[in-house]
Amino acid sequence: MEAFSITDIGKRRRSNQDYAFYSLQPIGPLPNLFLVADGMGGHQAGDYASRCAVETILEEVRRAENTNSAEVLIEAIQSANKKILTYSAEDEKLRGMGTTIVAATCEGNRLAVANVGDSRLYVINREEIRQITQDHSFVEEMVRYGGISREQARRHPDRNIITRAVGVADNLKVDCFFVTLQENDKVLLCTDGLTNMLDDSEIQGIVAGEEGNIRSRAETLVETANNNGGRDNISVILMEPFSEEVKE
């Protein structure tokens, strides 16, 4: 297994409120862990929310005794939710903060994914790019419930509104997905700073194209997002579950 992560401020923001973390080594009961968070709220608050979410999740996972990896992820995210809520109630500067989260762990060929908000996880190979997570965003839900078309969603001015976030409300619903990975699959976790700047086919072209290794592909993703405007912070974790070195 091989992975590479980048978080980039982009071209238009004065701070980077994204946070990306991965470990190929076991953490608690999990064989590995991948986390991407996109914080929101004012200066400091947004940074704090994403960092706090990632750190809390790590802490919880380390302590976890449950062997069901999906449950571990969900419970850890719930703890992060409570913690951010508490801090934002205590400190005026942090009020209004929140964060998205996409968390994944890979056991053999089985990938468990949990998410809140509009950061995404994709499974990509030469043939297809599959978005595994469903965005908790206003436009995505409008499409899902038949209010607007996919086309209208793409141009909707309220694309930036998310309907769920970690650290905003007491009862948080975390979605969970399972994927069986194929040999040539690559897994991409990313924030909307990437997906608002590149469409899925561009992402697939870079991730599953002829050229490069995991690192150069991840770098090309961020570079392309910046070239396309870099309107937001960009974070990616690109992971190859069955890379040559590991497969042997």
Partner: protein, 703 residues
């Protein structure tokens, strides 16, 4: 960070925080330059860090600053200091319409319509300047302490941000038009939709579309049929119901096409609420056969008197009600929704829950002076006080201070001292409305000349002095009187308002009898007879007027069929011999000869002619205005040339205005670290360009 006591822009001293919203905080401040209090709205830091957003915010705020209207919270200044972006606005002491509705549960039809008229006039002023509000809702309408209605946050609230925000407290989607919910093109008619929802809420105390989530509500805006306000409040008159329904048509083409049209109907509804004058684009049969909602039934259960009528009403519905969930279930859900609404609003009031409330357009101003009962002329419920044994005059005064009408009756009594109140016809503690009448029985003989004792029959006549003619008419008609009007002069009562009435307010008159109102025509003065100046050249005409003690008014150049009158006065604003006050302005029209009209035919070329930055295929608004400012053509297009064929234009020249957005040039930079070339796409900016055009003379001379 803004701190209390700090000075920004070298002139605004921050005094206290008076509100907080999704994107900004609002402070009361003192402007030291003009020595007045103002409201300063400060953009929250997370938004001021976003350069795109800030530039949009500034442009929108500048546009809003160009508006001045009594029904708009005027923007005085826009500025930036050390990364703090702020807007300086008129400080309006009062409460938001949202709070006002919450406080009163729902408003009377008359009050709702009056508030709507005022709000619409403010919005109309913005529309005239091509500013669309895009976020009309009761939270953005403020009722000042003086009872004035003011619309705020023009163009500011919806300056789009790309910051990720949550929809948790997204209250504004309750008022969002279907086209905005879809993310489509929005215009003046979107504001008309939101105004319709606002009017619905004023009338019924609830919003028409509710749901658990923002998305659910947005989808209802797009898909679900608009309920009639009469389902919730059956006494809403037909005209008002139809106004609401016309405003809230799903298709913008079927709504009122402009604010003036809506205002006209609202005014009519005030005068003749039961008349059927609202022209629907298409009859909406379904609306007539809807079932009465459960919360209304529970309301009816409470008031058994009304049950009979409503049950019958339900039987009369032609179609069986649509399939729906069991009543009990829905009732509970309904309540929960309302609770959730309330709690959402409460969340906004406490900064705690503004957590995640960073949402587009939800700027709620919590203004100072939210004292209750400042809206004295409206029917706020009050509780009857204990008056028995009280001195008659004291009791009368106290009740009048509560906004009640008082009628005194006299009766001899052995037990109650003379001059004291024996009883009142309204028991203590009863909830009554302002303007209701309380009859007090006083011990003793009626004082001489007391109208109350000599005339007990009939209805109490409301006092309408100083009210405008329309208001007075509405009040009296509602109370069951006929109205006739005479003109009178007054130095104190403004033109168009009531100087006096007969019978007087507070007296009694038979139901259906006529109340004579004297309406002010302004200050009195000496009268002169208007001379005939037609056929004179303009200098001579003015000389003749001045000789008579009259004043030259506006001079208009017109076309007149009679070639003999060319360059001569052909019309005057008062007919010959009319007696007018000395100093009256007489408007004159001077003929430029028989009428010539012009036409605009052919093709309008792309704005790329003037502005090479315009990219073919970009949506562009094309508006043709004549030299005198009349808009004769307006369209949105993506393709040029645009074919036009317009005749009957009165001016020889005009201007074509194009509105579109351009994306700036892509610039390249070399990264000093890596030596790589980075290209940075330009920013997208709203731009307009203009083209002066000459119209062609139309051959035919119009009769």
């Amino acid at each position: 960070m803004i701190k209390i006591g700090m000075m920004i822009g070298d002139r605004y001293e921050i005094l206290e925080k008076i509100g907080t919203g999704g994107m900004s905080d609002v402070y009361k401040a003192k402007c030291h330059k003009l020595n007045r209090y103002v409201a300063v709205k400060v953009l929250k830091q997370e938004f001021s860090e976003n350069t795109n957003f800030v530039s949009k915010f500034r442009v929108e705020a500048q546009a809003a600053a160009s508006l001045t209207h009594p029904n708009i919270v005027n923007v005085y200044d826009v500025g930036e200091e050390n990364g703090i972006y702020y807007i300086v606005m008129e400080l309006v002491e009062g409460i938001t319409l949202k709070k006002y509705i919450e406080k009163k549960a729902r408003l009377s039809v008359k009050e709702a319509v009056s508030i709507a008229i005022q709000a619409c006039m403010g919005i109309e002023a913005a529309h005239k300047n091509h500013i669309i509000h895009r976020d009309i809702k009761p939270q953005n309408i403020i009722i000042s302490k003086e009872g004035k209605v003011k619309v705020t946050d023009f163009g500011i609230a919806k300056a789009a941000t790309s910051n990720t925000i949550t929809s948790n407290v997204m209250g504004s989607v309750h008022y969002t038009s279907p086209e905005q919910a879809r993310g489509g093109y929005s215009d003046e008619k979107s504001d008309i939709y939101s105004m319709g929802i606002t009017l619905f809420e004023m009338l019924t105390g609830r919003v028409p579309f509710n749901g658990d989530t923002t998305v659910a509500i947005a989808i209802k805006q797009i898909q679900e049929e608009m309920p009639s306000p009469r389902e919730f409040v059956p006494e809403i008159p037909v005209s008002v119901e139809r106004i609401v329904l016309k405003c809230t048509q799903k298709s913008p083409d079927r709504r009122y096409q402009s604010m003036p049209e809506l205002i006209e109907d609202l005014k009519k509804a005030l005068m003749a609420p039961d008349e059927d004058f609202v022209q629907m684009m298409e009859p909406d049969d379904e609306a007539a056969t809807r079932m009465i909602k459960e919360d209304e039934i529970s309301e009816i259960k409470k008031q058994t008197r009304r049950r009979e009528y409503t049950e019958e009403d339900m039987r009369l519905k032609k179609n069986p009600p649509r399939k729906r969930r069991p009543v009990a279930y829905e009732e509970i859900e309904e309540e929960e929704e309302e609770e959730e609404e309330v709690s959402k609003m409460e969340k906004l009031t406490t900064v705690f829950a503004v957590i995640g409330a960073v949402l587009i357009g939800c700027i709620v101003l919590f203004l100072v002076g939210r004292s209750v009962g400042i809206f004295g002329t409206e029917s706020t419920p009050v509780h009857m006080i204990e008056v028995e044994g009280m001195d008659a005059q004291t009791a009368e005064k106290q009740l009048k201070d509560m906004g009640l009408e008082v009628v005194l009756e006299y009766e001899t009594s052995d037990s109650v001292e003379e001059g004291k109140v024996i009883s009142a016809d309204v028991p203590k503690g009863t909830e009554i409305k302002e303007g209701d009448t309380v009859t007090l029985t006083i011990s003793g003989e009626a004082p001489e000349g007391s109208t109350q004792s000599s005339d007990q029959s009939g209805l109490p006549v409301p006092d309408v002095k100083n009210k405008t003619e329309a208001e007075a008419r509405a009040t009296l008609t509602r109370s069951g009187f006929e109205v006739t009007v005479q003109q009178g002069e007054s130095d104190t009562v403004p033109e168009g308002s009531v100087i006096s009435q007969s019978p007087e307010g507070g007296s009694r008159a038979a139901s259906g009898s006529t109340i004579v109102l004297v309406i002010s025509s302004g200050p009195s003065s000496e009268l002169v007879s208007v001379p005939d100046v037609r056929g004179q050249d303009i200098d001579t005409a003015v000389a003749i007027l001045v000789e008579r003690g009259l004043v030259q008014g506006t001079i208009t150049y017109v076309n007149n069929e009679d070639p003999n009158l060319t360059d001569k006065v052909c019309e005057q604003s008062y007919s010959v011999g009319t007696m007018v006050a000395a100093g009256t302005k007489i408007d004159l029209s001077v003929s430029q000869g028989p009428k010539v009209t012009y036409a605009l035919t052919g093709e309008i070329e792309s704005p790329a002619l003037e502005n090479p930055d315009y990219k073919a295929g970009t949506p562009c608004q094309v508006v043709v205005t004549t030299a005198s400012g009349k808009e004769i053509f307006s369209t949105m297009t993506e393709t040029f040339p645009v074919k036009v064929n317009i005749g009957g234009i009165e001016d020889a020249t005009g201007v074509i205005t194009f509105g579109y957005s351009v994306t700036g040039e892509t610039t390249t930079q070399v990264d000093p670290a890596t030596g790589e070339t980075i290209s940075i796409p330009g920013e997208s900016k709203l731009t307009s360009s203009q083209r002066v055009i000459e119209f062609t003379i139309e051959e035919e001379v119009q009769p």
